[in-house]
């Protein structure tokens, strides 16, 4: 398995990740689960990771490859696409993190299917597949535009990891002219009717579009099948064409000795007062409490669960939650504005076919002072299935006979969406309520309110997509407001008073505690976050395995 063989010539093969080649050609489930390593709870592993999504999945593969003894605790199941997933909207409910979360603030964010996953692969199991990079400007919005925050790293620190992850997913798309211009390992997928009309309308108002980038195979890539354009990307890819860590990193991680321990809910990271270090994680499995020992812990539970786990890990030294003396844990959580405008055309569009993400534009990504607000937005096609379409119709105020009439018109419609860079605010935060959940852990509360800049950005972007549809000669349009994605909550920074972790994802207060998911992002750009979360984890793994992270954070680990 480890040596490239001639038979693989003609197929793109990442140099240090065999996942696509470990997969079975005729079955979709990860084939090497049966021979996965198992560590005892009292065995002190080198790195214990909480959460097996974009961050945890990549980190586990990278560290295992370099000989680290790695365990990943994952709350959800170890999915087998053949057995567990369906080509059906309502039947995909089990993919989402549906434990209760209280949502407040003046502009509360709906959780669940829109932004929260569980199970091996995380939210990437049900993301649309869009994998754009961030722009160089995203890492210095404070310096450039006086808003948001500067990151402690730059785009150029991540670039090589963007390229590595794009090769592993693998990403298909046209050459990308925005941000740092770049190409992709695979060519663009064909586009459907929805994208054709959007492209024409955009061109007519001087807006450039491109096909992709999507993490969907478009050619030979190990045992990953080609996309069959069935459109159910948000319902998890039963084909194994769309990449998520379940098939892009976990098979290789297991091959190199990592244990992915599914159905385990982490409830506390334990801290040893005398050593000033964390010692492992207490978790629940089948209702039983366990404690896994570890030399270092990386939390990768995403923007709600990561802060929640730290806030719930109280000790005499950290009465307000682990690594939270400065009251920064849980703050600056961000979502992107994601308003959508549907348009009606005389010809049938059949928007349910082909992947929902088809064409997009980043022409409005950076600040343009003439628009009257800082930062910008991107434009992407989205293609709701029937339930999603009905939510769109009723949000525009139609119920009863009117709802049915719009629904019967389904095949004539197509939808464009925006992703607005909404700015980070300290009061947009995760806190704990007094009410316990089924694990006895306090239910989290997420408050979210928009600023004036956020509102101006959203209003402007809605006019742009309306304009595109008018130029495309749409016969009718329906617009709704919504949000997408989650990042922030434990941001990285240069100042220990203003951030939770340093540029190496390492807690300022606890040297062997790391955070390796989207919650470390100080700003969010207008790009879908999955690829950047993976690239961050990939960079951290490089820093750890080449011992560029302060040694006191780790015990003497195997050379690699």
């Amino acid at each position: 398995m480890k040596t490239p063989r001639n038979i693989f010539k003609g197929s793109i093969r990442p140099p240090d990740n065999d996942s696509a080649f470990i997969l079975h050609p005729h079955k979709r489930g990860v084939p090497n689960v049966g021979r996965m390593a198992h560590y005892r709870d009292d065995d002190e592993v080198d790195m214990l990771i909480v959460g097996c999504g974009a961050g945890g999945g990549v980190l586990s593969q990278r560290l295992a490859r370099r000989g680290w003894r790695v365990v990943v605790l994952e709350r959800g199941p170890f999915w087998d696409p053949d057995r567990d997933w369906v080509s059906d909207e309502a039947g995909s409910h089990k993919l989402y993190w549906t434990d209760k979360r209280i949502v407040g603030g003046s502009d509360p964010v709906q959780m669940g299917k829109n932004n929260s996953g569980h199970g091996v692969g995380g939210s990437m199991v049900h993301y649309a597949g869009y994998t754009p990079r961030f722009h160089p400007s995203d890492f210095e919005t404070y310096t450039r535009d006086g808003v948001g925050a500067d990151w402690p790293i730059s785009y150029w620190d991540l670039k090589e990891h963007y390229e590595r992850c794009e090769a592993e997913l693998p990403v298909a798309g046209q050459h990308w002219p925005w941000g740092d211009p770049h190409g992709y390992p695979m060519g663009p997928h064909p586009i459907g009717g929805s994208a054709e009309v959007a492209w024409k309308g955009a061109e007519d108002c001087g807006i450039e579009m491109r096909v992709g980038p999507v993490a969907i195979t478009n050619g030979a890539f190990g045992n990953r099948p080609h996309c069959i354009y069935r459109g159910f990307c948000l319902e998890a890819c039963k084909v194994n064409a769309k990449g998520s860590p379940l098939i892009t990193h976990v098979p290789d991680a297991i091959e190199h000795g990592a244990e992915i321990r599914a159905d385990c809910m982490a409830i506390r990271v334990e801290y040893d007062e005398s050593a000033g270090r964390v010692t492992g994680v207490t978790y629940l499995r089948d209702g039983q409490e366990h404690f896994q020992r570890a030399a270092a812990v990386a939390v990768a539970g995403y923007s709600i669960e990561t802060p929640r786990l730290l806030l719930n890990s109280k000790s005499a030294r950290f009465p307000n939650g682990l690594a939270n003396s400065n009251d920064q844990v849980g703050r600056y959580v961000m979502v992107q504005g994601a308003s959508q405008t549907a348009a009606r055309f005389a010809e049938p569009m059949h928007m349910y076919k082909a992947p929902p993400p088809e064409v997009s534009s980043e022409q409005f990504y950076e600040t343009d002072e003439s628009r009257g607000f800082a930062r910008g937005f991107s434009i992407q096609t989205v293609s709701p299935m029937p339930i999603g379409w009905s939510e769109h119709v009723i949000a525009d105020g139609h119920w009863g006979y009117a709802l049915r009439e719009y629904m019967r018109d389904y095949i004539h419609w197509t939808v464009l969406g925006v992703l607005n860079e909404l700015l980070p605010h300290p009061e947009n935060r995760v806190t704990l309520t007094d009410e316990p959940d089924q694990y006895g852990m306090p239910i989290p509360r997420f408050d979210y309110s928009q600023s004036d800049n956020d509102r101006a950005n959203i209003a402007y972007s809605k006019k742009v997509i309306q304009d595109i549809w008018e130029h495309a000669d749409a016969q009718d349009t329906l617009t709704i407001d919504r949000y997408a994605h989650l990042v922030g909550g434990c941001r990285m920074g240069d100042d220990p008073d203003e951030s939770v972790v340093n540029s190496d994802h390492q807690s300022w207060e606890v040297p062997n505690l790391f955070i390796t998911d989207g919650s470390v992002m100080p700003t969010q750009g207008s790009a879908n976050p999955a690829l950047t979360i993976m690239a961050l984890a990939s960079r951290l793994a490089d820093r750890l395995t080449s011992k560029r992270v302060d040694a006191q954070g780790l015990r003497a680990v195997p050379s690699g």
Binding site: K100, R101, I228, H350, S390, W399, G400, Y401, Q475, D476
Partner: protein, 246 residues
Amino acid sequence: MAKHFRSGDAGHLPNQRKSGGIGPPDELPRQRRGTTPQMYGRYPDWDVLSQQGHWDIVTRNVVLDRVQKVPPFRFFNEEERRTLKAFSDRVTAQDKEPRIPVMSMVDAKLDAGELDGYQFAGMPDDRDVWRIVARGLDETAREAGGHDFASLSEEAQRQIVGRMADGELEGGSWEELDVSKAWSVVTRHILSAFYSHPWAWNEIGFGGPAYPRGYAAFGVGTKEHWEPDPAFDVDPVTDTQDRGLE
């Protein structure tokens, strides 16, 4: 007398209508194959269930169960069922049989605790929202002179539903929640049940599950050979006569 339709026109859409409200689509053709809710639709010969041989077995079982295994009511009591069935019939315009059993499907989800993963601050748990809404509808119906919501005329029921959609109901049980947010909670559950049902897919011409077959024709104006033709471009009356179906 049925009118002549063109699917390319958008004049039938509620936002584009020049005058009047929108009522039952009596002008649409009757369903000839398969079932649609109330047996009308634009694809009279489309039965998505006829494609089930092309669906993977796991998906097929999930979809067929919705048609063949209507779950018994466990969560709602007798009174709540009566009120909420009438309510969901108005929200989804199911004014006659055959009906998709929306409330049975919602009941099963609530009974199993399958919720959506969030609760608005200041709002009760979704399961309590449903019970309060049932109570509130009956209270408002009594103010309108009825015995309960289900005993009102359909038109009177629609007026109350319209006031709920606009967030305008108040007093009594309605004070226990934010009416607009409650509307969002209950309609989300109702629509998710209704449009998960293959009868609704027949009505809207949706191709249904697509694994392992996938799609090949997705350009503007194209379709797979097995996908339905809209009947909008033909006069349903003369068409049925021409085809000797009546």
